[in-house]
């Protein structure tokens, strides 16, 4: 079998950091090749080098056995490569066909031939089984369909080797399965697919061959049939990690958080949360599942006082905090791990110590009178860094020098050391590697054992299944149903996440 892509000794450095260290990669023609690795392992960098978005500091690229220089994406496209990025680059006000042909419009004399574009989009859509309506406005479509359009864009440019960067991150399980079928179809037509992921189930389900990267180096390339999930995890992390459901004692505490018919609007003024009600008891982890953008973020913002509720109430220990300021909510006993740590979790320009200080600047022993006692702040920060396994040179290191996982541990260290009764934890392991994820999960379970009430919002189903006692599924601002954490199938979760209710009394079972 011939090689569609061959990378030889690719080296890519950013300053002193080596993102790719002499990586070799062989992708056979007509296979689905998965590239896995922790965050920061160099997967995306390697693909960006292949696609001409980055120039390598060393090494060779061969496409179809011929060495080429990929100076820019244009050269990559000319060589038959196509890349579907993690973040879609579609124009909402244009139609599907206009987006597919953007930058290579059909037509003459500066005019666009809409009819020809629509016809060609239809043909591509039929040939490759990617159902779209070419005349629809992209802004009105779901994320799953947007991804189809991105793939159509790549196909319209004549790609035979398709690279997908974390294609399933934004999809429901059902949409992911459809995508995999499509990819199988591509391979059947003689095309080659390379996809980056950190979901090992996907690797096992769809790929023919898998390459594992760790810390910028290739660990191994193996036929998927010859490896197990555990082998892959060991290769990725360098040791074995457990992802099973965590053991736990049943919780017996009283109600800490009580939410009743809560509504709020999003930034555009449209209803984002539309009447949700639930309780969280002490010593319990309640998970909120859902595809990103179904009101979870807004719900977390309301509960932390960052967004006003338009209707309804929430209480902590019976005290109505619906209209309270973030400060008052915190003082009542709420700790908040925000979903977007860079925006609301940390100040990247400040030191770790200053970040851990935030919110305590008025409390002894951190401050005496109105003066901050930096000696105490540093000492306490060092203790917390040790306890929460923050890897940095010391408390004075700037947060922006930390990796995503370590940054998140700084946030957890600050929030979980407040002795708050209610922990509002939004996407605690987004963009965090497997090793750090494990220690964050351990910490959440430790807080649960200490009798905290925890609301865990996550788009990662395996995380919810591992940690939550109950899982509420949000769709379009509503809670579609509740599933007990110990007997939940991804299937049932996926249907609820897609807005399909499995039965009228499903929600009442709990």
């Amino acid at each position: 079998m011939s090689h569609a892509v061959e990378l030889r000794g690719i080296v890519k450095r950013f300053g002193t950091f080596v993102a790719n260290d002499c990586v070799d990669l062989v992708v056979k023609a007509g296979e689905i090749h998965a590239i896995v690795g922790e965050n920061g392992a160099g997967k995306t960098t390697l693909m960006n080098v292949l696609f001409g978005l980055l120039q390598p500091d060393g090494g060779e690229i061969l496409i179809d056995g011929k060495p080429i220089v990929v100076a820019n994406p244009r050269a990559a496209i000319a060589a038959g490569l196509g890349m579907v990025h993690q973040h879609f680059k579609l124009v909402p006000s244009l139609t599907v066909a206009e987006n597919v042909f953007l930058g290579m419009e059909r037509g003459r004399a500066g005019f666009v031939d809409h009819k020809a574009q629509i016809a060609e989009t239809e043909r591509l859509s039929r040939d490759f089984g990617l159902k779209v309506d070419p005349t629809e406005q992209v802004g009105l479509l779901s994320v799953g369909i947007e991804q189809r359009i991105e793939i159509l864009k790549v196909l319209a440019r004549g790609a035979r080797i398709i690279i997908l960067d974390e294609p399933t991150a934004v999809l429901t399980p059902q949409e992911s399965r459809e995508l995999f079928q499509t990819l199988r179809g591509f391979v059947a037509q003689g095309m080659t697919v390379i996809f980056i992921t950190h979901h090992l189930e996907e690797v096992m389900a769809v790929s023919d061959t898998v390459t594992v990267l760790r810390l910028g180096r290739k660990v191994d390339t193996r036929p998927t049939a010859d490896v197990t999930k555990n082998d892959l995890v060991q290769m990725m992390v360098g040791r074995s990690v457990s992802f099973d459901r965590r053991q736990r004692e049943p919780s017996t505490g009283g109600t800490v958080l009580s939410v009743k018919d809560l509504w709020c609007r999003d930034d555009r003024g449209l209803p984002a949360v539309r009447g949700v009600s639930f309780d969280v008891r002490a010593g319990e982890v309640v998970g909120i599942a859902g595809v990103a953008g179904n009101g979870q973020t807004e719900l977390a913002e309301v509960l932390s006082g960052l967004r006003p509720a338009s209707h309804g109430t929430f209480r902590i220990h019976g005290e109505d905090l619906t209209a309270a300021s973030p400060r008052r909510i915190r003082d009542t006993g709420v700790a908040h791990v925000p979903g977007d740590r860079v925006v609301r979790g940390v100040d990247r320009q400040s030191s770790i110590a200053a970040n851990i200080l935030m919110g305590r600047q008025d409390t002894p022993p951190w401050a005496r009178g109105s003066l901050i006692d930096w000696a105490v702040v540093r000492e306490r920060s060092s203790e917390m860094m040790e306890r929460f396994d923050v890897r940095a040179s010391g408390p004075d290191a700037l947060v922006k020098s930390l990796s995503g996982g370590n940054m998140q541990k700084v946030v957890l260290a600050r929030e979980f050391s407040h002795d708050a009764d209610f922990l509002l934890v939004d996407q605690p392991t987004r963009g965090v590697d497997i090793g750090a994820t494990e220690s964050i999960h351990n910490e959440i379970m430790r807080q649960r054992a200490d009798g905290r009430a925890i609301l865990l919002i996550s788009v990662q189903l395996d995380e919810l299944i591992a940690l939550a006692d109950r899982i509420l599924v949000m769709f379009n601002g509503l809670i579609m149903g509740e599933l007990p954490g110990d007997s939940v199938s991804e299937e049932a979760l996926g249907l609820l996440m897609a807005g399909v209710q499995t039965g009228p009394d499903r929600a009442a079972v709990a």
Binding site: L102, G103, D261, W263, G275, L478
Partner: protein, 329 residues
């Protein structure tokens, strides 16, 4: 009734069309930059230098059309300075726009002093204005003939630009690319389109129309230049652009509103209202229009509140909305 008839008649409509033309030209020019994602507050200055240099060109060449060309060239030069600073050097759009507006105001006054030794205005000196176009046979059409014939050429250009721009944005490659660059620059970049090049083109096209708007002011119905002749029309255009998002039809609607209130103000003066009060009419209309637009978002809030109140009154919610609530019991 009689008062109304005196207020709204053919003459009034003709006046509306006339007063609409310059603001429509400059606003359509701004539509290019708005669509390309540039907040162009420098329209006022571009229009002013357009008006000034149109008069200068007209005096020195003896031709109205060469005058128009001079005005357009001056405005395009201003547009070029704007886009170089904003796009290539990434300066703040508002600061650069305001600076160019102030420069335009000061420059025209000092040049007037230097060339003609006068302050205030340039009148006479052999300025050649644009001749009104009389459409043949229009006089036989009665009222309709009066409405469509007898304007200076740039009035026709202004109104013709509306359908041209609609086609431009929907059917041409450049129009499409300008929209993409404004709405989602990273999408343009990913497809190898040069954001810089497209923003340059949009800004220069804007300069052309702003220059025409200025030339229309000084060589249209009155052939003279006065200090600060654009008198806020560029800013009005900016306001219209914010609310129309640069869509040609909405721009037209906004400009007609301002044109009408401008004409109304002139009309009211003939009724003997104090002129300083009357001159506030267009701005009051602007305020009222903006308020009305802002008020439109109110019913949504009302609707949502009514919705949740209804849900409270009901014993059983609808199956989808009630799911979250039912597991309480």
């Amino acid at each position: 009734m009689e008062v109304l008839e005196r207020l709204i008649n053919v003459a009034m409509l003709v006046a509306t069309i006339r007063t609409t033309a310059p603001i429509l030209l400059v606003a359509l020019g701004g539509s290019f930059t708005t669509k390309a994602g540039i907040f162009n507050i420098g329209l006022e200055g571009q229009m002013l230098v357009g008006a000034f240099f149109a008069v200068i060109g007209s005096i020195f060449t003896g031709s109205a059309w060469l005058g128009v060309l001079c005005g357009v060239t001056a405005a395009v030069t201003f547009a070029l300075i704007f886009v170089v600073l904003v796009v290539s050097f990434r300066a703040n759009e508002v600061v650069v726009g305001l600076a160019l507006n102030i420069l335009a105001g000061g420059m025209t006054i000092s040049l007037m002093k230097a060339i003609f030794g006068t302050r205030g205005s340039i009148v006479g000196h052999g300025i050649v204005g644009l001749k009104p176009v009389h459409i043949p046979g229009a006089s036989d059409l009665g009222v309709f003939g009066q409405l469509v014939s007898g304007y200076t050429p740039l009035v026709y250009v202004a109104f013709a630009m509306v359908p041209i721009l609609i086609v431009f944005y929907q059917r041409t490659r450049l129009g499409l690319h300008i929209r993409v660059v404004g709405e989602k620059p990273e999408a343009a970049e990913a497809q190898g389109l040069s954001i810089t090049r497209i923003r340059y083109i949009a800004s220069l096209l804007c300069g052309v129309l702003a220059g025409l708007a200025g030339a229309h002011l000084s060589l249209g119905y009155i052939t003279m230049f006065t200090e600060n002749m654009s008198s806020g029309r560029g800013f009005m255009a900016v306001a219209i652009l914010i609310f129309s998002n640069g869509d040609p039809l909405k721009v037209l609607a906004g400009c007609l509103l301002f044109g009408f209130s401008d004409a109304l103000a002139l009309r009211l003066q003939t009724f003997g209202f104090p002129s300083y009060l009357v001159l506030t009419v267009p701005y009051l209309v602007a305020l009222a229009a903006l308020f009305a637009l802002a008020y439109r978002s109110r019913p949504r809030i009302v609707r949502e509140t009514v919705d949740s109140m209804k849900r409270l009154m009901r014993i059983e919610g609808p199956p989808d909305a009630g799911a979250g609530r039912r597991n309480e019991s």
